[in-house]
């Protein structure tokens, strides 16, 4: 099984994220950039497929030069190869543009299976995986929580309202993974050292035979209008009940009358 995993580098949300004063985006100064958590699960699943069925795991990332760090994390976890795509023309590309670029990369390499995270924790868009399948003309399932590889077919499970949906999907296919699918391994220290020595190829749009006018900022149908920081949370209300029963009554009353969630 040759597995391709598409990953994204995102800001570490364990740190405070600040919006630029002019609302044009987030302030990137001092941010830590990490491999998107959902993509980490996709890499883990790919490694497990390789462990069970043999083959290779290749990670692909579209992003500025710093994005190679996310690829190094995936290599340190155990991926075989990494492909990085960047071109100044991609600054401001939208999700469909990125998906088209990924599709072109994937098309050029053996792929029995393509995995993505269900969403990226920066913009929560959940678009790229589905669009990628469309551009590749492959079957797809989103937000899968279980993957089993059979002969030319994969059985996947999706957690849906009130139950589990089981799908049989012909391979090659594109799946986006839910975080419940597995527990990602830690990149090991020897893995980090090996990843450091691996070469990461960076491809430009020209290398891929793509026209900036079709995939770059010029082609973007979605543009960010403005970023606003989330509203400041107001201070909570502290109540001091006389007894546990009194406390429970006050909370229930709050949920009913003020929060109106009950």
């Amino acid at each position: 099984m040759d597995v391709v995993v598409c990953v994204k580098q995102v800001p570490d949300t364990e740190q405070p994220i600040r919006v630029r004063a002019d609302g044009s985006g987030i302030d990137e100064q001092g941010l830590n950039w990490i491999l998107n958590y959902y993509d980490e699960h996709a890499v883990e699943e790919a490694l497990r497929v390789r462990e069970r069925h043999g083959g290779t795991v290749t990670v692909v990332c579209v992003g500025p030069p710093r994005a190679t760090e996310a690829l190094r994390t995936a290599l340190a976890m155990g991926a075989d190869e990494a492909v990085h795509v960047w071109d100044p023309a991609l600054e401001g590309a939208d999700h469909l543009g990125v998906s088209r670029v990924l599709a072109e990369v994937v098309r050029r390499m053996p792929h029995d299976l393509v995995l993505c995270g269900r969403l990226a924790t920066d913009d929560n868009a959940s678009v790229v995986g589905a669009a990628l399948a469309e551009y590749l003309g492959l079957a797809q399932a989103t937000a899968i929580a279980k993957l089993e590889i059979g002969d030319g077919v994969a059985t996947v499970e999706r957690e849906v309202e009130g139950g589990v949906e089981v799908l049989r999907v012909p391979l090659p296919a594109v799946f986006t993974v839910e975080r419940t699918i597995n527990e990602p391994r830690y990149p090991t220290l020897p893995g980090i050292m090996k990843a450091k020595r691996k070469e990461i190829r960076t491809l430009s749009l020209q290398d891929l035979g793509l026209d900036p006018a079709q995939v770059g900022a010029a082609a973007a149908r979605v543009r960010y209008a403005r970023f606003d920081p989330p509203p400041r949370r107001e201070a909570g209300r502290v109540v001091t009940p006389e007894s546990p029963e009194e406390g429970a009554r006050l909370i229930a009353q709050f949920l009913q009358d003020t929060a109106k969630v009950l």
């Binding site: 990149p187 090991t188 220290l189 020897p190 893995g191 050292m193």
Partner: protein, 396 residues
């Protein structure tokens, strides 16, 4: 008002983060995550129960933490010494006992086999020790020979087949869980030598010390060697002379200087966060002058320690590190961490005495760290000798 200092974490006031390479940062982050998930949720209970989590040993091996600064050809990670120091920092942010396990395994067991062992010994032992399949301990200190290891009573007698060792070693981390012990003993000519002693050799026994109120999530034992006979090929060919034993300590002390930073950071960050939230007299205690002074003192000590450790790492990687420089770092950083832990405990008030918070556990642990691997006072004398040329701890 001027812009705030652009630091990533409250404990990185001088942006030491910016000095790190990608590998150093990745190595630190992977162990940080490990400690967050596998150590911190349980450490309070382990500590109270006096339990060392042996189940973490294979995981630490798989992660590549054990002997991580030794070469890849022996199954180790081959990290530089700053990355290695950062690992010790993260482990000790969890608990000094966990870091001590890794220090002993890496610096006191794997290092002497690497530096003083034969090629056969290296190839046989190092990969298994790196994976955590074998656990080691280090026997130098004796019940009446701690700061003065030259006063050791353990003897090694040469026989036709090998060596017979007899004596008692004390305060031995990992003692009863070890598969092998690096034991130092005097031969009949009075020369100190190092040996690899499998702990299942007849005559070898380990007895745990259960009355500790410090370092409770760590195994500390007494080793008794009663006519323990080992073959010639378990003597470390290069481990001849007390200086070689002290060379191991230099390695371990280097890691301790970094580890102490981790313990201090854990205490400072919890104290800072508590001080901001805890209200007394109608305002957060962080808005009081005394608490601010405590926090500033803590941050100053941490920042100093970080820079000392970082520079020491540069010197070590350049092959220019002197043991007296290690003494300064160990002495300063551990005492600083101990003071930070005590200050943090005070900021936390009564909550600080529980294992729900970390400060008291770290403070109790750091009392051991302040003493082991060269007491604070012994390092003072090493440094005093270095700068004055006068030895103030010569034999009476």
């Amino acid at each position: 008002m001027a812009q705030q200092v652009a630091y990533r974490a409250p404990s990185d006031f001088y942006a030491v983060e910016d000095l790190l390479t990608d590998v150093q940062r990745s190595a630190r982050d992977t162990v940080r995550r490990f400690v967050d998930r596998e150590v911190l949720p349980h450490i309070g209970r382990w500590w109270l129960e006096g339990h060392f989590p042996t189940e973490l040993v294979p995981k630490l091996g798989e992660l590549g933490v054990l002997g991580a600064n030794l070469p890849e050809e022996y199954g180790c990670a081959g990290l530089d010494n700053i990355a290695y120091g950062l690992l010790m920092q993260e482990l000790e942010r969890g608990d000094s006992g966990i870091r001590s396990f890794a220090s002993v395994q890496g610096a006191l067991v794997m290092y002497p086999i690497y530096a003083y062992g034969s090629e056969d010994q290296r190839r046989h032992y190092l990969p298994k020790l790196a994976r955590g399949e074998l656990v080691g301990c280090f026997g130098l200190t004796e019940p009446t020979a701690g700061s003065d290891p030259a006063a050791m009573n353990t003897r090694a007698r040469k026989t036709a087949r090998g060596w017979v060792l007899s004596g008692t070693k004390m305060w031995i981390t990992n003692g009863s869980i070890a598969h092998l012990a690096i034991v130092w003993a005097r031969d009949e000519a009075g020369t100190v030598r190092g040996f690899i002693v499998p702990t299942d050799t007849p005559g070898f026994s380990a007895h745990d010390i259960h009355t500790k109120v410090s370092m409770r999530a760590s195994v500390t034992s007494e080793l008794v060697l009663d006519e323990v006979e080992i073959p010639d090929d378990l003597a470390l060919p290069g481990a001849v002379g007390l200086g070689k034993a002290l060379g191991c300590l230099t390695q371990a002390r280097y890691g301790i200087a970094w580890g102490a930073v981790g313990a201090a950071v854990a205490c400072f960050e919890e104290a800072l966060s508590y001080a901001r939230d805890r209200v007394a007299f109608g305002r957060p205690i962080a808005a009081t002058q005394i608490v601010q002074e405590r926090l500033v003192d803590m941050l100053t000590k941490i920042t100093t320690s970080q820079l000392v450790a970082y520079r020491l790492g540069q010197l070590k990687d350049a092959g220019r590190m002197h043991y007296a420089q290690v003494s300064l770092a160990k002495r300063h950083n551990v005492r600083a961490a101990l003071e930070v832990a005590r200050e943090a405990r005070q900021v936390l008030g009564a909550y600080g005495i529980t294992t729900e918070y970390h400060a008291m556990r770290h403070a109790a642990n750091l009392e051991s760290v302040d003493t082991y691997e060269g007491t604070y006072d012994i390092h003072t004398l090493i440094l005093g000798r270095e700068i004055t040329g006068h030895e103030a701890f010569g034999r009476a």
